[in-house]
Every structure is written in structure tokens, then in C-alpha cells.
């Protein structure tokens, strides 16, 4: 249709990939993408031409995700803001649930999951991830470190064991 639609449309596959990994659910992911696209188009006049459109779209998606998280969450046990005493509430994971990387991902707090996915899956630089999430870069680094370590623990610690679990 218009340049604008084409411009935005080319980012849809990556928005969908990220949303799927973030929500762990196909329908919830596509709803999130749809909401993102609608909000982006209605605010397109606020986007500064020449600035990074992908980062802008991911920022919008992140804000919608955070706002909707409590009502739409597929992973009801995760805290939105990691409590200071999170370690105290550690529960032994149900290992039989951890069939794959998606299940491990679902057990990360959202704030760690977003960083792990933006950096590892979407290949954002740390600076870009910090802008999308609107947090300082030091926060990105600490969430990345904690998220990856927690994933490692969830997947059994040993990368070979993790790889075996990924194969269904």
C-alpha cells in the first residue's frame, strides 16, 4: 500500500519471533504484534525518520508487553519486578517440565527474559537493548548475566545435557 506499510511490514517476522519467545504462546504473540503495529501506525508521526525503526517498534512492543503482562501472562508464576529476596523463594524446578529451551525461558523473570532474547535471539547490541528497555546499560548487563546463568541452571548446567533436552 504505502511506503509506511512496507517499511513497517518488513519488521513483522522479527517482531513475531521475539513475541513468540517472549510470551511462549502463538496466539498471545500475534496479539502482541498486532497491538504493536496498530500503536506504531497511530503514532507514526512521533517516529523520527532516519532513526532506527526496528528499535522503535521493539520499544513499543516492550511497553505494551509490560502493560499487559499481568493480565495476559502465560507464565503466571513470574514476578514482573524481581523482588530483592527472589533467592528466598527459589523452588526446585519440575525437571520433567523442562523439555526444551522454551520451558526454561518461561521460568525466567520477564526482565531477564527480555534481555536474554533481545541480545541472544534478536542480536541487539547492549546499547540498543538498553534503549528499547529504557534502562541503563549496566542494568542490561546484570540482567543478561543473571538470566543466562539461571537458564543454565534450569537446563541442567551442562550444555550437552541442555542440547539433549532440546532434541525432542
Amino acid at each position: 500500500m504505502s511506503d509506511l506499510d512496507n517499511l513497517v511490514e518488513q519488521h513483522i517476522p522479527r517482531l513475531r519471533r521475539y513475541a513468540r519467545a517472549l510470551t511462549g504462546d502463538r496466539a498471545a504473540a500475534d496479539d502482541l504484534v498486532q497491538d504493536t503495529l496498530e500503536r506504531a501506525l497511530s503514532r507514526f508521526h512521533l517516529w523520527r525518520r532516519g532513526s532506527d525503526l526496528r528499535a522503535w517498534l521493539f520499544t513499543i512492543m516492550h511497553n505494551i508487553f509490560v502493560n499487559q503482562a499481568r493480565s495476559r501472562m502465560r507464565y503466571p508464576h513470574e514476578p514482573l519486578d524481581e523482588p530483592a529476596a527472589a533467592g528466598l523463594q527459589y523452588r526446585e524446578p519440575d525437571w520433567s517440565e523442562l523439555r526444551d529451551i522454551g520451558a526454561a525461558l518461561s521460568r525466567l523473570p520477564a526482565e531477564q527474559r527480555t534481555v536474554v532474547l533481545l541480545v541472544g535471539l534478536e542480536q541487539f547490541t547492549y546499547e540498543e537493548a538498553a534503549r528499547v528497555l529504557e534502562v541503563p546499560i549496566g542494568t542490561v548487563m546484570s540482567r543478561l548475566s543473571r538470566g543466562r546463568e539461571r537458564m543454565r541452571a534450569l537446563l541442567g548446567g551442562d550444555f550437552r545435557a541442555a542440547a539433549l533436552k532440546v532434541v525432542k
Binding site: D5, A40, L41, D100, M141
Partner: protein, 251 residues
């Protein structure tokens, strides 16, 4: 012998391929001496590979139909018909009195873009008298309309987009005077910008879209004023102009 300090952030940067090349050897030497750290990083690398294996296929899935063409608010034909009927009822004295007060207010919030569309349809085909004050008296036009609306108006210049100002006129709105500016491109295609004073000082920066038959309207609120840009042009083109108008009014 002093060794360079390798931080946790360095290890992740190494893993993510963003460590400066000059420091690669330092990290590699560090890992060579610490097998448990090397194993940890290998596990992280495998995590990333597993994420790609799991979610990259989403990139190739056909997108659901509704995601292919991002849409703004399209009024469906049936809803559009109902909306026109509702508008006519509200316009009539009887309809007005039958409605509860709160419903009046809600309807008012959606009916003013419709008024803009109707004003567009009425005045844009005019050959001899499309405007009351022409673009040749632009300063007078702005002063006059600002005074009548009780707000400081600005006229966007859309020459770069191919639309020249024709002029403007004063119209009766639902709550007082309203301004209409008219633009025209080289082929005689006309757009109108309808400006009214809002009931409240609101700032809803999101654009909304409505369609009245062939007339598309982008409208938004910006503090004291509400703007509606109408035209019988393709939606993308109208949005392009609306975006330019917004930016000129909010430099």
C-alpha cells in the same frame, strides 16, 4: 606479572562478538586457565543456538492475514451505515433530546471528525468560491480565524508535499466557530484541514482514522485544538500529509 582484569561483562561481550578485537587474546588466555568458566560460556553459547533453533522458524511462518497489512481503524461498511444514521439522528432536535447527556458527550467525541468530512464534501468541489479568504491574504486569514476561534492558529505549509494553500473559511461547529483550510495539488485534488477548539485541554497524540464514504479523515487532539485532515485520497497519502501537518505544528 599483572594480569588484565576480565569482568563478567567482558565474558558476555566475548560471547556476543562485541568485544574489541584487541582484547580477544586476553579473554581467551583467561578462559584457557579456567576450564569451569569455559564450560559456562559454552553452555551460554548453546543456549543462544537453542533459542535460534527453537524460534527462527517463526521468521518463515506465513503471517496471519491480519498481520500482513497493518491497519488503522477502519470503519466497516455496516458500522459506517449505522454511524451515519446515528449522526443524522443526533443532528436532529428529536434525536438530540432523546439521548442521555453522557451519550451526547461520547457521541460528540466521535462526531466532530464526521463534521469535518461533511465540510470537506460540501466545500472541496466548489469552483468559484472554495474559500472565503484566499492564500494571497494568508496573514489576514490567520488573524481573522484565530480571533474568531479564540486560539492562536497556524497554517501548515504543504508545498513540499505538492499541496498549495488555497485559503480558508469560517464554519459553524457543534460548539462554536471552526476553521477550515483548503489545499490543492497540481491535479486539482483537494484536502481540507478542519480546526476546532477542544472542550478540554487534552493531548491525545495518537492519530485516528475514520472514513465517510470516499472521504478519509485523520484526526487528533493537540492541547487546545482538535485537527481533522480530510481528503478523497489513498490512506497512506493522507497519513503522509497528516504527519507533515503534525510536525509543522509541533516543531
Amino acid at each position: 606479572m599483572s594480569r588484565p582484569i576480565i569482568t563478567e561483562a567482558d565474558l558476555h561481550a566475548y560471547l556476543d562478538g562485541v568485544l574489541p578485537a584487541a582484547r580477544l587474546a586476553e579473554v581467551e588466555a583467561y578462559l584457557a586457565e579456567r576450564p569451569e568458566e569455559a564450560v559456562r560460556l559454552a553452555a551460554y553459547r548453546e543456549q543462544i543456538a537453542a533459542l535460534r533453533r527453537e524460534f527462527d522458524p517463526v521468521l518463515d511462518e506465513p503471517a496471519p492475514q491480519q498481520l500482513r497489512v497493518p491497519r488503522l481503524y477502519w470503519v466497516r461498511p455496516l458500522a459506517r451505515y449505522a454511524a451515519v444514521v446515528a449522526w443524522l439522528m443526533l443532528g436532529g432536535v428529536t434525536g438530540w433530546q432523546l439521548h442521555a447527556y453522557t451519550e451526547d458527550q461520547r457521541a460528540e467525541a466521535t462526531s466532530w471528525p464526521r463534521r469535518a468530512a461533511i465540510a470537506h464534501v460540501v466545500y472541496s468541489p466548489e469552483v468559484r468560491h472554495p474559500v472565503e479568504v484566499g492564500a494571497d491574504q494568508e496573514a489576514h486569514l490567520v488573524t481573522w480565524l484565530s480571533k474568531r476561534l479564540g486560539a492562536s492558529l497556524k497554517v501548515p505549509h504543504l508545498g513540499e508535499l505538492g499541496y498549495a494553500l488555497v485559503g480558508g473559511r469560517l464554519l459553524p461547529g457543534d460548539r462554536g466557530p471552526v476553521a477550515q483550510f483548503m489545499y490543492q495539488d497540481g491535479k486539482g485534488q483537494r484536502l481540507t484541514l478542519y480546526v476546532r477548539v477542544n472542550a478540554d485541554d487534552s493531548r491525545e497524540t495518537a492519530f485516528r482514522f475514520a472514513q465517510e464514504n470516499r472521504v478519509g479523515v485523520f484526526y487528533w487532539l493537540d492541547r487546545k485544538l482538535g485537527y481533522a485532515l480530510s481528503g478523497e485520497v489513498e490512506r497512506g497519502e493522507l497519513l503522509r500529509v497528516a504527519t507533515a501537518v503534525y510536525r509543522q505544528l509541533n516543531p
